[in-house]
């Protein structure tokens, strides 16, 4: 039980750290994003550029 709880805390922390340090990298990495007309790739999702204004 205690171990699970520690794991959850760690996961939560790891997730946040990962988000902070990788979100920007992922968003602007030329490897991950390919601009194609009105489309943009983020995390493998093909989005419309206007989606970024909608959220």
């Amino acid at each position: 039980m205690e171990r699970d709880s520690s794991r959850r805390k760690f996961l939560s922390l790891a997730g946040k750290i990962a988000l902070v340090f990788t979100a920007s990298v992922t968003l602007f990495s030329s490897k991950k994003i390919k601009n194609e007309e009105e489309y943009i790739f983020i995390n493998g999702w093909l989005l419309r550029k206007k989606d970024l204004n909608d959220i």
Partner: protein, 509 residues
């Protein structure tokens, strides 16, 4: 009549002469025996029994040395009825383009056209018990939502033999009652002796599981043991031809193909689509939820892609409209691969929101390096076991990528939702996934391909082995290319055509 060769002690073939010997009691072999003229004296040899047995199925064991593939004794059925004991009942004819030579698909082109097989459609449908009306799977997924008018991707429907016709159950009584057919079960072809000039079969050797050997002969032989076994047997019979029968040009066993089946991504739906789905009755059967899209000929030519079936598979969650499109988009943008992979590493899985998956089942480009060979290990009958080296080419991966990109754009453009394409599809040089992906369709094709010239194939346009007067091959091993549809319908069409050809042949001695 059906006899069990395991239970026979005296030579039942002594002083007997058959017109036709069909080796293999599966879909092709049984169909052929039913549609050959009743004036022909037919011997049908089935290597297994009437039901599954370990002693027969074990003969199919072999080794996979290429891309991850099914265990070779699990991907096929070695008893009466063959693969009809396992099939799912989906079928559709190949498209016209599948038969044509395409300059962007090396080794493409059949020596026959779709119009050569169309006349057999009606009979093929009756063989698998399709109702007369234009029955198809009652798809309840996206069919009514995705616009059919998209220029690149078109809606597609499989027909459905439901329940899937089992050829043993359907035809067993006919095999018993037809006076011109003698069927032996547990009868394994273990050797072929050719005439001195090597241009025809003189006699064959048959072995039961007790080790008893028999010899018999016929005027015409048809090998119909499946897309892997047809090649294995021809390669094994090398006492007179060092490369095996029909293999002067080293083509037997090459061009092995399946229909690669891979999950290529997932999707979220826009609110108006989610509302449509939430108003639908939840369809729990996976088969009913799928919608198929196939590429137009123009798309295939312009983008130099293979034929494929893209399967849009709504999840059960898609039928409950609980999260707005905006929130889903936020999740998509805020999540990232690294954090996801960390969580997955600790938890094993991570249930991220998606409204469904996208899967592809595609044509595989003919590849001479993708092949069946025989190893040194022998089975209990004394034949060398199969080694399968399943290989892909760049155009296979390109097809997956272009198919998923086009669908993702269609989805976004029509404001249906957004699509995620999996990393391996987008990443240059990434290997294709293995299990637990579906990987293939258990469709074994291409290993004795049909061609106009002996230098390019194993059988001619009538499925007769080049250089042999009295040996034909039936089944999907003769497909030079595969299209994207399940092969059963084409196997039946071609077998009916083969029956017509043999019926028209003068086989008097």
């Amino acid at each position: 009549m059906i006899y069990d060769l395991n239970k026979i002690h005296n030579d039942p073939f002594k002083d007997k002469q058959f017109d036709i010997c069909i080796i293999g009691g599966g879909i092709a072999g049984i169909t052929l025996s039913m549609y050959l003229k009743k004036s022909l004296n037919i011997l049908l040899l089935e290597a297994g029994g009437e039901d599954f047995s370990i002693e027969s199925q074990e003969v199919y064991k072999g080794k996979n040395i290429g891309h991850e593939y099914f265990e070779l004794d699990a991907t096929r059925a070695r008893w009466l009825g063959g693969s009809s004991n396992l099939w799912g009942g989906w079928f559709a004819p190949l498209s016209s383009i599948d038969f044509r030579k395409r300059d962007y698909v090396k080794y493409s082109g059949w020596p026959i056209n779709k119009t050569d097989l169309d006349p057999y459609d009606k009979e093929a449908r009756s063989i698998v018990d399709l109702p007369d009306k234009n029955q198809s799977i009652n798809y309840q997924g996206w069919t009514d939502i995705i616009e059919e008018s998209d220029k690149n991707l078109n809606g597609f429907k499989f027909k459905w033999s439901s329940p899937p016709t089992n050829f043993r159950d359907k035809y067993k009584s006919k095999l018993v009652n037809r006076s011109n057919i003698t069927c032996y079960i547990n009868a394994n072809l273990t050797d072929i002796t050719l005439s001195d000039n090597l241009s025809s079969i003189k006699k064959i050797e048959i072995k039961n599981y007790k080790g008893a050997l028999f010899n018999t002969n016929a005027k015409i032989y048809i090998l119909a043991t499946g897309g892997i076994e047809n090649a294995r047997l021809l390669l094994n019979f090398n006492k007179q031809c060092k490369n095996g029968i029909g293999n002067d040009n080293d083509l037997v066993g090459r061009f092995f193909s399946d229909h690669p089946h891979f999950m290529i991504g997932s999707y979220i739906t826009d609110d108006h689509i989610s509302k449509i789905f939430s108003s639908k009755k939840v369809e729990k059967r996976y088969d009913y939820r799928i919608t198929f899209l196939t590429p137009s000929e123009k798309f295939q030519k312009n983008d130099k892609v293979l034929n494929f079936g893209l399967r849009v598979e709504p999840s059960l969650k898609a039928y409950s409209h609980t999260q707005s499109f905006r929130d889903k988009l936020k999740d998509v943008v805020c999540s990232n691969d690294l954090s996801e992979s960390i969580v997955k590493k600790f938890r094993g899985t991570l249930d991220c929101w998606t409204d469904g998956d996208i899967r592809i089942s595609a044509e595989q480009a003919p590849n001479p390096k993708s092949r069946v060979t025989i190893g040194s290990e022998v089975d209990k009958l004394g034949l060398k076991r199969t080694i399968l080296n399943w290989q892909f080419q760049k155009i296979d991966k390109t097809t997956f990528k272009k198919a998923s990109m086009d669908f993702a754009k269609l989805f976004a453009k029509q404001n249906l939702g957004r699509v995620k394409i999996d990393d391996w599809v987008l990443t240059e040089n990434a290997e294709l996934p293995g299990f637990p992906q579906e990987v293939g369709g258990n469709h074994h094709m291409g290993t004795t391909r049909m061609s106009a010239l002996p230098s390019e194939g194993v059988v001619d346009k009538n499925q007769k082995v080049f250089g042999m007067d009295n040996l034909y091959i039936a089944g999907s091993s003769v497909f030079p290319t595969t299209g994207h549809v399940n092969p059963t319908f084409t196997i039946i069409q071609m077998t009916l055509r083969l029956a017509d050809h043999i019926n028209a042949r003068d086989i008097r001695v």
